[in-house]
Symmetry: C2
Subunit: 338 residues, 2 copies
């Protein structure tokens, strides 16, 4: 079952029962716009603050994913969730209205990977029959918390990214759904914290690329799979520059990523939307996985996909105290069969 120090091949692989995604209006106009389940008309969704909107975004995404999963009880056994707000209040306030065990996680924008890995292990280990794995982010709540007030109209640096307003939730279970293709999480490689000493909070791609390289190198070596084994390999939100860095770093490990390599953040928006390096945020990889990627796994258009969400570890204060920005990346692979 365990392969090397970090990787695992599931003997009882958990199955994906459902996925759901809700995004903001700008995100609905982006490249994956037609794939999302729901696109909001504005960034507040009837709430008084952006933070409360993110709570609702998270809650409604989880609820819809659970409803779509059609579990026997209409519930899930546990909710594994994370977001970028201080003390993950979007996830934990969402959990108030969902009758299940709550396991709060934090791995910044890698959290969706962490949730899918821990959730898969808890199901494969026989503890839960089904769990929901969800993450969210909101452009306006993230800007306010990490960067500058929107009203300031600050200029973006050339390496900046745009936090997506989006939530994604996957429900996984020990038995496959009654109909359709069987889509399982067949392996995973949880990551270590990696720090290359980058301290520029406007260059998340450079902070996270080394962590993605470490996790992917461990995955390919320990699982004895080449990048070409997968139909597609997706990192979370490295952005365009971060993708280049990842390719560069992996070459020194004798790993060459081909045209099957994608980044959810880099491809999230159109060029006309001016996202600079691309989208980012904990909701980036989860919303793209639970829409565009999962839809094509369901149809069989892609059959073997590796997902590696990446997260930069910092707070609003840590760079001000001179700390560097370490990062972590958690990878899981998904297999779609008849």
């Amino acid at each position: 079952m365990r392969k090397g120090r970090q990787s695992f091949e599931f003997e009882n692989p958990p199955f994906i029962l459902s996925g759901y995604s809700i995004v903001g209006p700008k995100e609905g106009l982006g490249r994956f716009g037609k794939s999302f389940d729901r696109v909001l008309e504005d960034d507040l969704w009837g709430e008084k603050t952006f933070e409360k909107c993110e709570v609702k975004l998270h809650r409604e995404t989880v609820r819809a994913a659970i409803a779509r999963a059609r579990t026997e009880s209409g519930l899930v056994d546990a909710m594994l969730s994370a977001d970028l707000l201080n003390q993950i209040v979007a996830a934990s306030f969402a959990a108030k209205d969902i009758d299940t065990v709550f396991l709060g996680l934090y791995g910044a924008c890698s959290s969706f990977g962490e949730a899918m890995i821990i959730g898969s292990m808890l199901i494969s280990g026989g503890f839960f029959d089904n769990v929901s794995c969800s993450t969210s982010s909101h452009f306006a709540s993230a800007e306010r918390q990490y960067r500058f007030p929107l009203e300031l109209g600050n200029q973006r640096t050339p390496t900046a990214q745009w936090t997506v307003t989006a939530a994604g939730c996957t429900v996984i279970g020990k038995c496959p759904p009654a109909e359709g293709r069987r889509i399982c999480i067949d392996s995973c490689t949880p990551g270590k914290v990696v720090d290359y000493g980058i301290d520029d909070e406007s260059n998340m791609g450079a902070c996270m690329a080394p962590a993605a390289a470490a996790t992917l190198a461990a995955h390919f070596k320990e699982m004895e799979r080449a990048p070409s084994y997968y139909d597609e390999i997706w990192t979370g939100d490295l952005g365009k520059y971060g993708m280049d860095l990842l390719r560069y770093l992996l070459v020194s490990e004798d790993i060459v990523l081909g045209n099957n390599y994608h980044d959810a953040g880099a491809e999230f928006y159109t060029t006309e939307q001016h996202p600079v390096q691309g989208g980012s945020g904990a909701g980036c990889s989860s919303s793209v996985f639970n829409s565009y990627i999962l839809n094509r796994l369901k149809s069989g258009e892609v059959k073997r996909v590796l997902i590696c969400p990446t997260g930069a570890l910092l707070s609003k204060d840590s760079p001000l105290q001179g700390s560097t920005i370490p990062a972590v990346a958690h990878a899981f692979s998904v297999l779609s069969e008849e």
Copy 2:
């Protein structure tokens, strides 16, 4: 293995290999002072900021616990960690210097329970041979982040608590240590988020008592164990008033807590130290468990102990936006045998 909706009895219970605790100077003068492994001389430990001190506190506690565990590799397979700083930077920065998979968690002051439960499941499920479970908090970094600058010298309300400067880490593994009593985690009950509508951030006991009551009631019922089954039952940091509330709430479930019921926060400081309702913080339950409680489990003075850390879910901003303060509590039981 699974009992009811929330509780689990481990078929392959994981064993405690080691525990370690480091606390601040005030904590060293408290009721558990003589039990802690290390007491710092000041609140900065040679660092320039309280936040950096908390990183060091967390890192050195995990390192010492791993060294004491004497695992074959000198490492652990994964580090499950949490703290109260925004984006859990104490835990994640500590993880930079520890060569292992990092799984960041957040359940406020209940996080130690969450880490022990997830860690136990991942070991019992056969995924990891050993993991570290650690949490920390720091009085000065918490005051600054959640409340007021220390320099303001603010008066405390009668229901306030005092965030402990402390870190605790337990290393658990699939095999018992070569010598001494065998101490295992034999059952657990992860909790749901409970909200009684309390919105007073200076009354954490009232926020958390309903969550503790829900988790403990589920535990006693699903595990078919009475409170008297345990030599001791410990909640995390309800404080004195919160303890009264918990007793009151459990009576309506026909559960009466006897003299074997304790609260790590309420007993942390002496009355002369003026902690008002007692200690609190993510490091409260973990430092007390890994010192006073674990020492007596090792000696056999206590044999069956239930630990239920409790966490209030809020950020600095959420009460300012009119949100209530929901809470969560995660319980695990420990068994000490010859």
